[in-house]
């Protein structure tokens, strides 16, 4: 009789597992589309030098360069945060005569579609690495015989006015089955 009671008690214990940890305390985080979105950090590239859809030349082509700090003039310029190291002069990059263009060494216009040649004025080694494939993003096809390789230009990732790569929020940490003790516990 006692043996039977013990068996039933053991069976109930193992069935309900009152002291066990149970299956899991919380579910692993869902794989959100934001974690695998291939859009570059600055979003889609614009097609021309413009502010809120208006090409800069629309207003500026008939104007002479202002003699004052342009960040104090107008609503468009006040939003610009310029943290590009020692490069603090607008017309180092922007063309003072043709405002839809960038400016080369001698003031020659550089079109928006060739912005990498503007950045190459100062960032020669990076330009070389970018051309050869060691720097910058590539999308599409590694085998250009089978499809198009998209070479992303500088300003897709770097804000030209504040070019340092901005911090990102890390996607969730792993919760794989095998867990190592962290370094402090050794």
């Amino acid at each position: 009789m006692a043996a039977l009671a013990a068996c039933i008690a053991a069976a109930l214990y193992f069935w309900f597992d009152p002291l066990g940890a149970g299956e899991r305390t919380s579910e692993p985080p869902a794989v959100k589309p934001a974690y695998y979105d291939t859009t570059p950090v600055r979003g889609r590239l614009k097609t021309a030098l413009m502010t809120e859809g208006t090409p800069c030349g629309t207003c500026h082509d008939s104007m002479d360069p202002p003699a004052v700090d342009p960040s104090k003039r107008g609503t468009f310029h006040s939003q610009i945060v310029l943290r590009h190291g020692a490069n603090v002069r607008c017309f180092n990059c922007h063309n003072s005569g043709k405002r839809d263009f960038f400016s080369g060494f001698g003031g020659e216009p550089i079109p928006y579609s060739r912005v990498e040649t503007l950045c190459a004025k100062c960032h020669g080694p990076h330009y070389r690495d970018w051309q050869q494939g060691a720097h910058g993003r590539r999308n599409g096809y590694w085998n250009t015989a089978m499809g198009e390789r998209k070479t992303q230009v500088c300003i897709v990732c770097h804000d030209p006015h504040w070019p340092v790569f901005k911090p990102l929020r890390a996607a969730p940490a792993p919760r794989t089955l095998r867990v190592t003790a962290s370094a402090e516990e050794h």
Binding site: T38, V41, Q132, G140, A170, A171, A173, P174
Partner: protein, 318 residues
């Protein structure tokens, strides 16, 4: 009534003067038989979970490298039907052969990686890994600047990255030229393909996990449970040796997204990397981006001293 029919003394075999116990031998054996049957049924009850028994064709299947094209097509058709049954989507299951004159290699710019783990989840999304329990091919190690000490590396950092005092080193399958995981496999369920990618035949793997123990990069993952993959998150573009759904009890690992890369595309982790730290290409082509990186940059491989000769390179900015 029973007393009248049976001869006295026979049914109740007990010493004279004691009370009968009230249980006949027949009743006792009956109860014991029912109890035994119930216990056997309980012991066999896990078999109820074997909903889909392997078919005879699956049992008699040959090794992948011995299959004829006709065998393969029959097997692929069975897999397509199974995936459609399990996930409600008819998959685009392919088995692209290695490209001629192509050896895949990977390079990662350790000076650019910010540790955002986008690659980890792009990989999970592309390759139909189990979401619960979690299986991920890429681990991102966070380490103090100035050393490569993987023993003290941190896996579980959260929040904003990069931390200015640390750097990040993602680790995944190194696609070794001298792969220890292949050497230890007792059934040859894993092998290097002609384009240099070490693959696993999920139907041939017996789940012994020797390869997991042999890998110095901790790159192999085991399905301890049936993979938990929501139907709507299945990637229907799948390859036989790469991202088709796995079963409980088999190994899996990074395969450079064969379903993409053998079609000429970049792997999912390269495609997603917001910093452009990840580089991929054909190392046999001297003009490829990857060949140029290995030729012109300072490059290292992880655990060079163990002699695995990886095709996964880390490089620095300068």
């Amino acid at each position: 009534m029973a007393d009248e029919k049976l001869p006295a003394g026979r049914p109740y075999f007990h010493p004279e003067g004691t009370e009968a116990s009230g249980i006949t031998r027949r009743e006792f054996l009956g109860v014991a038989a029912v109890g035994l049957a119930a216990a056997t049924a309980a012991a066999l009850s896990p078999l109820r979970q074997l909903a889909d028994f392997p078919t005879l064709e699956d049992w008699l299947r040959k090794h992948y490298t011995e299959l004829t094209p006709r065998d393969k097509e029959a097997i692929f058709e069975r897999i397509r039907a199974q995936v459609e049954k399990d996930y409600g989507v008819r998959p685009n299951l392919t088995d692209q052969p290695p490209l001629d004159g192509v050896m895949f290699a990977y390079a990662l710019n350790i000076g650019r990686c910010v540790g955002c783990r986008r690659c980890v989840y792009a990989c999970v999304n592309e390759n139909n890994q189990s979401r619960d329990p979690q299986i991920q091919y890429i681990r991102v190690l966070k380490m103090k600047k100035g050393s490569i000490d993987v023993e003290t590396a941190e896996h579980y950092y959260e929040g904003e990255v990069p931390d200015p005092d640390h750097y990040y080193m993602p680790v995944q399958c190194n696609q070794c030229r001298n792969p220890p995981c292949v050497k230890v496999c007792p059934v040859k369920a894993t092998w290097p393909e002609k384009d240099g990618v070490v693959v696993v035949d999920y139907n041939w793997c017996i789940g012994c996990r020797y390869c997991e123990a042999a890998c110095p990069y901790w790159a192999r993952r085991f399905n301890f449970k049936k993979p938990g993959l929501p139907k709507e998150e299945l990637n229907p573009n799948m390859g036989y040796l790469s991202n088709r759904p796995r079963e409980k009890g088999v190994m899996e690992k990074c395969h450079f997204c064969l379903q993409r890369t053998r079609a000429g595309r970049y792997p999912a982790c390269v495609e997603v990397c917001p910093t452009g730290s990840r580089k991929f290409g054909n190392i046999l082509d001297p003009d490829s981006e990857i060949s140029n990186i290995i030729r012109t940059k300072r490059v290292y491989v992880l655990k060079e001293e163990v002699g695995t000769n990886p095709k996964f390179y880390y490089y620095f900015n300068v």
